[in-house]
């Protein structure tokens, strides 16, 4: 890499929101053509910092220089004009519009549609990211959507490319291809700011790293010279013991699903096809898969939000597939969906009301149609106490809680109902490490107590830590479950259907991934 003045210098950036200081005096620099990591836990201030660099948020204090010149973008358009491009964690794409229209929206002065279409084909081909410009984005897989974002950025020939948690939606195979592309972009002189909390990726890809904790820079280093464990300690600030999993049990089947098929719920939904699974008492089944392959639909089909044939879902042998959510809870099947705010909990309702939301039946909080508010408050207080939910009380709205605390409340609310079977989707998504550890241990304890637990997650590490057996969801189909012991990452990748749509990618991508640039 060339020595000389860095491409981007960040000096003393500070940004406070009511109640939190997101960034406090953050400083670092990115060299030309470097892949620089921004490492930190959820809530460490990575997103705010990136939004400042991209002109979406203005800092309270501090300054930046781009290629030696003062840089203070007032808007994303100004950032793009200065040569800064960004690929978002939650895609900033428009489902109903075509690939080309989406690309055009991200450019300041897009060429006429026909020329743009040709350029998209050329650039996407050159970087091993094949795309059809005329397809609506709604039809694309998560990996393909990310390609749209990347191509949109590349067409602007940026000096700095920001990637915000780009691999959270990709299979291991797709990650390898992405890394190949990124190395190539960097080799052509574009610097990359790579945001992640996944240590292995950073060690593999990045040559320098800035580690954030609690809004402050705690270290800067060359990640290739450090062990993952060392980086983890710097990021978290303390050691967190991995959850202790009990040995695989040999109990009787509790939750059985067979031949479960459901049509998609909406125009952009996913169909479930012939899903079958069995979970025994004391067992944790992990279900992996790339986002959008039927996770939400599977949870809805198990929670009772969507009904199926009675025999498609059985609990302790009893057919419950045709029952609604309340009746399934009464039978002993509880669930916690992925989206905390608006699905698992009503953001504008108090914790007491949210406790009533799923606890009404099993905790007998409603009698003859009348609500027993005192009992509901007591139940909410029990959840708060048992799961160490940090809250001023049970009468605050759910949205006032941090992500980790609300998630502990949501999971705790189901566990304290002593379910026969519990289904959770993304139980630790966007949750701080301490809360995630609490939640994982609680799930393990629940299973150890004799319940059947299904954990749907996109975090493979989490599944390998928790589950006894592993199955993968791909395009609404569930693979056969395999014992986690002895499963390799490559096998998991194949189970996840990592090959889908990637055949056209460059053949040498896989080789590059193991070959530091």
């Amino acid at each position: 890499m060339t020595a000389g003045p860095p491409l981007l210098e960040v000096e003393g950036i500070t940004k406070a929101y009511p109640g939190v200081v997101a960034n406090a005096g953050v400083s670092f620099a990115i060299r030309h053509g470097a892949v620089h990591a921004l490492l930190g836990e959820n809530g460490a201030g990575k997103s705010t910092l990136v939004k400042i660099i991209y002109g979406l948020v203005r800092p309270d204090a501090g300054r930046m220089r781009l290629a030696g010149a003062p840089y203070a973008p007032a808007s994303p358009a100004a950032a793009r004009a200065a040569g800064v491009a960004m690929v978002f964690q939650h895609f900033s794409l428009f489902e109903a519009l075509t690939v080309a229209e989406n690309v055009a929206l991200g450019m300041e002065r897009p060429p006429p549609m026909r020329r743009l279409t040709a350029r998209i084909r050329a650039v996407s081909g050159a970087y091993g990211l094949p795309l059809d410009p005329d397809r609506p984005v709604a039809d694309l897989s998560a990996g393909e959507r990310q390609r749209v974002e990347i191509v949109r950025c590349l067409l602007q020939e940026p000096r700095l490319l920001i990637m915000d948690e780009p691999t959270s939606v990709l299979t291991p195979q797709e990650v390898e291809i992405l890394f190949g592309t990124l190395r190539r972009i960097a080799a052509e002189g574009t610097s990359i700011l790579y945001i992640s909390h996944k240590l292995e990726e950073i060690i593999l890809l990045c040559e320098s790293a800035t580690i954030l904790r609690g809004g402050k820079v705690v270290a800067g280093c060359d990640p290739r010279q450090r062990a993952a464990r060392e980086l983890a300690e710097m990021m978290v600030g303390r050691l967190i013991a991995p959850a202790a999993r009990a040995a695989a049990p040999g109990g009787a089947p509790v939750l059985e699903v067979a031949g479960l098929s459901l049509p998609p719920a909406g125009p952009h939904g996913r169909a479930l096809r012939e899903v079958g699974l069995t979970v025994a008492a004391g067992e944790i089944l992990g279900i992996g898969g790339v986002a959008g392959n039927g996770q939400d639909e599977l949870l809805a089909a198990l929670s009772g939000e969507r009904r199926a044939a009675a025999a498609a879902v059985r609990l302790d042998g009893r057919p419950i597939g045709a029952l609604g959510p309340a009746a399934r809870r009464a039978a002993g099947l509880c669930a916690a969906p992925e989206e905390r705010l608006g699905h698992a909990a009503a953001p504008d309702m108090t914790l007491t009301e949210n406790a009533l939301l799923t606890g009404a039946v099993r905790e007998r909080l409603v009698r003859r149609g009348m609500i027993d508010w005192r009992a509901a408050r007591a139940f909410a207080a029990r959840v708060v106490a048992a799961f160490d939910v940090r809250t001023p009380g049970t009468e605050v709205p759910a949205r006032a809680l941090s992500g980790g605390n609300l998630q502990k409340f949501v999971i705790g609310r189901e566990i304290l109902q002593r379910p026969r079977a519990l289904v959770v989707n993304q139980p630790t998504w966007g949750v701080d490490a301490a809360a995630a550890a609490t939640i994982r241990q609680a799930l393990i304890d629940l299973a150890a107590g004799g319940a059947a637990v299904v954990v749907i997650s996109q975090d493979l590490d989490e599944l390998l830590e928790l589950a006894h057996r592993f199955a993968a969801l791909n395009e609404g189909r569930l693979s056969a479950a395999r014992p986690v012991e002895g499963l390799t990452l490559r096998e998991i990748g194949l189970m996840l259907g990592g090959a889908h749509g990637m055949q056209a990618a460059r053949p040498e991508a896989g080789r590059l991934a193991h070959d530091p640039a």
Partner: protein, 361 residues
């Protein structure tokens, strides 16, 4: 620069305070409007809000009118409030009110000239059922086909207006009225009339029903599962489905309830204060009740107060029309303004206004 900042929890002070502030601001803006019409703003406001209650000249007549006008408004608005909380927008209460009146009056007239204690209760039943059935049309279409209940219930207002006009000159026309449109006067048919229960108060069965509705809906919202489900569905529809609330059943329940209450309001009106089915029976209560529901913050106690306030603007508006020649339409515009101010100020309950940028922390 003004910025909006979401409050962690809604402010209790502003939740109660915004309707009061909205009324005050509407009086100011209304005063400007009255001044532009060439009226003395202070005198006009006093005529509308003070004279109906305290003027020695009008109070004797207008005080009982307060209950007469507030009764149907409160009855309809309490029903609407439950649905509005659930995000179910029945804005065709006016149509349900009219159909309830037609059904109730038809039952009463069918017995003419028989006497019997059972006639009025049957009319009440028919009125409620009529309103319920009319509201079931948009409800069932919504549940079965996903058709917008807003548009369908509103279209049915126009249909109901045409039906009542047809009835007034057709089937329900008074055969003894030598061809004039309009039905027999139910107020003069004792077995079917809804009389003033305590002379000089304006209290009739419809007002009693309104008070009952306030109490029952209050209980439902505070303690009953249906009230919780309605609030949940309105605040977080996905969470409601996850909790086991069936959107279809909730739609049917809320629409049916509000329709039945609107129908009852129509029946009590046609058998009492109005007395007969006329071509222009629809009086706009169904629409004004929407303002009442919002002004009362979709809470029964608030609706009770808001109903009286809105009744006051009707009565005061009539006096102002009569005494200082204020156009009737000015009151309608005044009521619309009130809703604007209320909706605009709603923000204060959930957001904090901040001036300027925050200093670095």
């Amino acid at each position: 620069m003004i910025r909006l900042e979401r409050r962690p929890a809604p402010s209790a002070f502003w939740t109660a305070g915004t309707p009061v502030l909205a009324v005050a601001l509407t009086m100011v803006a209304g005063g400007v409007m009255f001044a532009m019409l060439g009226k003395d703003p202070v005198a006009t406001i006093r005529t509308i809000f003070w004279d109906p209650l305290f003027s020695p000249q009008y109070a004797a007549f207008s005080r009982p009118q307060l209950l007469v006008k507030a009764g149907p408004l409160i009855l309809i608005a309490t029903g609407l409030a439950l649905g509005f909380r659930a995000g179910i927008w029945n804005i065709g209460a006016e149509g349900q009110y009219i159909v309830g009146a037609i059904c109730g009056a038809a039952v009463g007239l069918a017995f003419y000239p028989l006497g019997g204690w059972y006639i009025f209760p049957l009319m009440v039943l028919a009125g409620g059922l009529g309103g319920w059935a009319w509201a079931m049309i948009p409800a069932l279409l919504k549940v079965r086909f996903g058709t917008s209940e807003i548009l369908v219930s509103l279209m049915l207002v126009y249909v109901a207006e045409k039906i009542v006009a047809a009835m007034a000159v057709g089937r329900l026309r008074n055969p003894e009225a030598s061809g004039f449109p309009g039905s027999r006067n139910l107020a003069r048919y004792p077995a079917a009339s809804n009389p003033e229960l305590i002379p000089g108060t304006g209290l009739h069965w419809g007002v009693v029903a309104a008070f009952l509705a306030v109490a029952v809906i209050w209980l439902v919202l505070a303690r009953h599962r249906l009230g919780f489900q309605a609030r949940l569905a309105g605040l977080a529809p996905r969470a409601a489905r996850f909790a086991g609330v069936s959107p279809g059943r909730l739609t049917l329940a809320c629409m049916g309830l509000s329709g039945a209450l609107a129908g009852l309001a129509g029946l009590f009106e046609v058998a009492g204060p109005a007395g007969q089915i006329r071509i222009d029976f629809g009086s706009g209560y169904g629409f004004t009740a929407i303002i009442v529901a919002f002004l009362g913050r979709l809470h029964p106690a608030g609706i009770l107060l808001a109903g009286f306030l809105m009744a006051l603007t009707y009565i005061g508006g009539e006096i102002a029309q009569f005494v200082i020649g204020l156009p009737a339409a000015a009151i309608q515009a005044f009521q619309g303004m009130l809703l604007f101010f209320l909706l605009g100020l709603d923000l204060a309950a959930n957001y904090r206004l901040r001036l300027g940028r925050r200093a670095a922390a």
